[in-house]
């Protein structure tokens, strides 16, 4: 077990070898993602209860959300999943320059997503649809409408917070990529970032139809 022969600079002293360290990092990341699933799971559970209870209000609320912006963001995130997957692949092959380029592409797409989200939020502000700030709804079902928009803002807000953390992680990793710290021997931070980013994408893949596409028969 104790391979002391090749001592990689990234190998922490409490691991025997890079293989063990990589296995631990990967497993820890998956355990963390399981935690994330349960975190969003609580929100999805609450959403399900109220969507069942107040279906008509949810349809009405959903129809106020702009499919075009939501659809654009879906495309952006799927594209960013591709770029981050390429970054992981290039890191495994030791193509330092390409890792950097794919990371920058991912970052631009992530920021683009957040920009679109900001535009949507500002529209909601103008339409007086932000609970806690300026929510006003004069029609029937005002209560359930407010609940729908509460879910909309908490769910997309939590998702956006995860995106912002993702961008922060990229800013932390980019200097290390420039310093060529990752390669075929050691790429778990890049790979785990990829797992995180894919997870955040998948959350959006669920959020988009659940929030934007209720009762729309195109």
């Amino acid at each position: 077990m104790s391979k002391t022969a090749s001592h990689h600079p990234a190998l922490q002293h409490y691991f025997d070898d890079l293989k063990q360290q990589h296995g631990a990092a990967t497993m820890g990341m998956w355990a963390f993602l399981a935690q994330e699933i349960m975190f969003f799971g609580g929100l999805f559970a609450g959403y399900t209860v109220y969507r069942y209870k107040y279906f008509n209000a949810f349809v009405e609320g959903s129809n106020l959300l702009p499919i075009a912006w939501g659809g654009l963001n879906t495309v952006i995130l799927i594209a960013s999943s591709f770029t981050v997957a390429m970054a992981v692949r290039c890191a495994q092959q030791g193509l330092h320059r390409s890792v950097f380029n794919w990371f920058m592409a991912t970052m631009v797409l992530g920021l683009g997503f957040l920009g679109v989200k900001a535009i949507e939020y500002s529209h909601k502000y103008h339409d007086h649809l932000i609970p806690g700030l300026n929510f006003q709804w004069d029609g029937p079902m005002a209560g359930p409408m407010k609940i729908f928009f509460s879910f909309y803002f908490v769910m997309t807000g939590m998702h956006a917070l995860h995106m912002i953390i993702g961008v922060g992680l990229m800013l932390w990793l980019i200097p290390k990529i420039r310093a060529e710290k990752f390669g075929p021997q050691y790429y778990s931070p890049i790979e785990n970032f990829g797992l995180y980013w894919h997870f955040v994408d998948i959350v959006w893949i669920f959020l988009f139809p659940l929030l934007y596409l209720i009762g729309r028969h195109l």
């Binding site: 077990m1 104790s2 002293h13 409490y14 691991f15 025997d16 063990q20 296995g23 631990a24 497993m27 820890g28 355990a31 963390f32 399981a34 935690q35 994330e36 349960m38 975190f39 969003f40 799971g41 609580g42 929100l43 559970a45 609450g46 209860v49 109220y50 209870k53 107040y54 609970p131 806690g132 700030l133 005002a142 209560g143 359930p144 407010k146 609940i147 509460s150 879910f151 908490v154 939590m158």
Partner: protein
């Protein structure tokens, strides 16, 4: 004075010995440490502070209940007292105590690892704990929280007093300490075991922590998002749990108990792990039915997620759901009983050495048994209608949490204290503490079963006069209990300065943690150990001792 002679440690020259406590000094070397042993000590100090704080609130509650009138505190103050007692004890003592103190210290040692898999996350978990604890303490000082530790809406939303959000954020942040510990332990057990340490050679303490980690990872985030929603509702009036807008406060209870029932097992299952170690060591026998004890921890972790509805029998949930929850609640008693039977079977015909860790473990078995059996009263639907929200419930969960979990924690603390500190405590005083705690505990909480059965509701500071005798008995018991904790505290602190040096293995116990120095060196093992024997090989002790002559 004790005259216990302990075998000298290999390098007992005194000064030359480098261990994790003396290899660097200064506040910075502690606050920025990545050593799992030092982080365990940090947790030991801070959880003890919260235990003292929670105990203080408990003392004030018992003082008020000496008389039927509300003469010491206003009703509002009393509400704050029991809330803060619950918040401090559950979130900041019971949940972190065994995993974060004992688990952090001995889990890597037991599996032959140099540290946990993610030492920096481990330190971060302590900072999450401290940040959460600071926020909660601020809420206490600034004005108090009066919702009950469960933060039920609308107490915590529509009718909240203002500092509820701060307390909620404190508990929310503290949750990440639990999650990070869970992620760390899970990964450590999977990936960091020494060569030869197969899954079925793992000490049962490790199995218990493995099961606990699963619950921490899968349960804690649910309460985190729930409390976040309550805090947002409190601050921005979201309405998700507000019936005026069509929201459902019962949904909050469902989400809350989905975590908080498993949380009960997050508290108690690591304690089960401690008891397995202690019983085996002081009975000089291998644990009876090792694999049953190991798998019963996992069974509890699984079933623990399916019983939350038994907290809500009186909320108007569907009677059919109630029946299912009731049945599963009875069913979860089975893996728990498996453990109790196996521990007693382990002791049967063992060479019992009645030292203070075993004393606590025996106290645990008796008290936890009462706590567990009264739990089956409460899982009976019809009985629960009568007993719900009475002192019967209060007594039941104190028998499980204090009689069970705290006794297990103290058992483990006494067991591993010589390993952690390198010193022996005075056995006679430790025994005195254990006996006082056992007697005081029973005197405090047994009368509360009777009170609850007679109809005394929980969370009231005024009560009919005929209940006074039982309340006075309970307060008297609490005094003895408090005295017991003081004796224990003084005894352990005294040992740090005056205790005899503990050798590597004062109990001649089995396990990798007993094969290294006390206190351990910063990197635990001089070379990676290779495990060749089964756990708890106490019966082959003579043979093994002969083999290890050179050690």
């Amino acid at each position: 004075m004790t005259t216990t002679e302990t075998p000298a440690s290999p390098a007992s020259a005194g000064h030359g010995e480098v261990n994790y406590l003396n290899h660097e000094y200064g506040i910075k070397s502690w606050l920025l440490t990545l050593d799992h042993k030092r982080i365990g000590i940090l947790y030991l100090i801070t959880t003890t502070m919260f235990f003292a704080l929670g105990g203080l609130f408990a003392g004030l509650i018992r003082l008020e209940l000496m008389t039927p009138e509300g003469d010491l505190f206003q009703a509002d103050t009393y509400n704050k007292l029991f809330t803060m007692h619950g918040v401090a004890m559950i979130f900041f003592f019971l949940i972190p105590s065994v995993p974060a103190v004992l688990g952090n210290f001995v889990l890597p040692l037991m599996i032959g690892a140099k540290d946990v898999a993610f030492p920096r996350l481990n330190l971060l978990s302590w900072y999450c704990y401290i940040t959460g604890g600071t926020l909660a303490s601020f809420a206490i000082v600034a004005g108090g929280v009066d919702t009950g530790w469960t933060f039920y809406t609308p107490y915590s939303s529509t009718y909240s007093t203002g500092f509820v959000s701060v307390a909620l954020m404190g508990v929310f942040i503290n949750g990440f300490s639990s999650i990070l510990t869970g992620v760390n332990f899970l990964t450590t057990v999977h990936k960091m075991r020494a060569p030869g340490m197969t899954w079925f050679r793992l000490p049962l303490f490790i199995w218990a922590h493995y099961a606990t980690s699963l619950m921490m990872i899968l349960g804690t985030p649910v309460v985190a998002i729930t409390l976040l929603l309550v805090a947002l509702e409190n601050m921005f009036g979201l309405g998700i749990f507000n019936p005026e807008l069509g929201g459902d406060p019962i949904l909050m209870q469902h989400l809350f108990w989905f975590y908080s029932h498993p949380a009960v097992y997050i508290m108690i299952v690591p304690g089960f792990g401690v008891i397995s170690e202690v019983i085996a060591c002081f009975s000089r026998k291998a644990i009876f039915g090792y694999s049953f004890v190991a798998f019963s921890s996992l069974a509890i972790a699984l079933l623990g997620f399916l019983v939350w509805g038994h907290h809500m029998f009186t909320t108007g949930q569907s009677i059919y759901a109630g029946m299912v929850f009731s049945f599963i609640t009875f069913f979860i008693a089975v893996p728990t009983a498996v453990k109790i039977f196996n521990w007693t079977a382990t002791m049967y015909r063992g060479s019992i050495d009645l030292k203070s860790p075993l004393m606590y473990a025996l106290g645990f078995i008796g008290l936890f048994l009462i706590g567990g059996l009264t739990g089956t009263f409460l899982s009976t639907l019809a009985m629960d209608i009568h007993l719900h929200d009475t002192y019967f419930v209060v007594s039941h969960f104190h028998y499980v949490m204090v009689g069970g979990m705290v006794m297990a924690y103290l058992s483990g603390l006494h067991f591993w204290w010589p390993k952690m500190m390198g010193r022996m405590y005075n056995e006679a005083w430790a025994m005195t503490g254990a006996v006082l705690i056992f007697l005081g505990f029973n005197l405090t909480f047994f009368p509360q079963f009777v009170l609850g059965y007679l109809g005394m509701p929980r969370r009231y500071h005024v009560y009919p006069e005929e209940f006074q005798i039982l309340h006075v008995a309970s307060t008297g018991g609490a005094t003895v209990l408090g005295l017991g904790y003081m004796v224990l505290f003084v005894c352990l602190v005294w040992s740090l300065f005056k205790g005899a040096k503990a050798g590597p293995n004062p109990w001649t116990a089995k396990g990798l943690e007993w094969e290294i120095e006390s206190p351990p060196t910063p990197h635990n093992f001089h070379e990676t150990p290779i495990v060749t024997s089964e756990p708890y090989a106490y019966e082959e002790e003579d043979v093994l001792l002969a083999d290890k002559g050179s050690h």
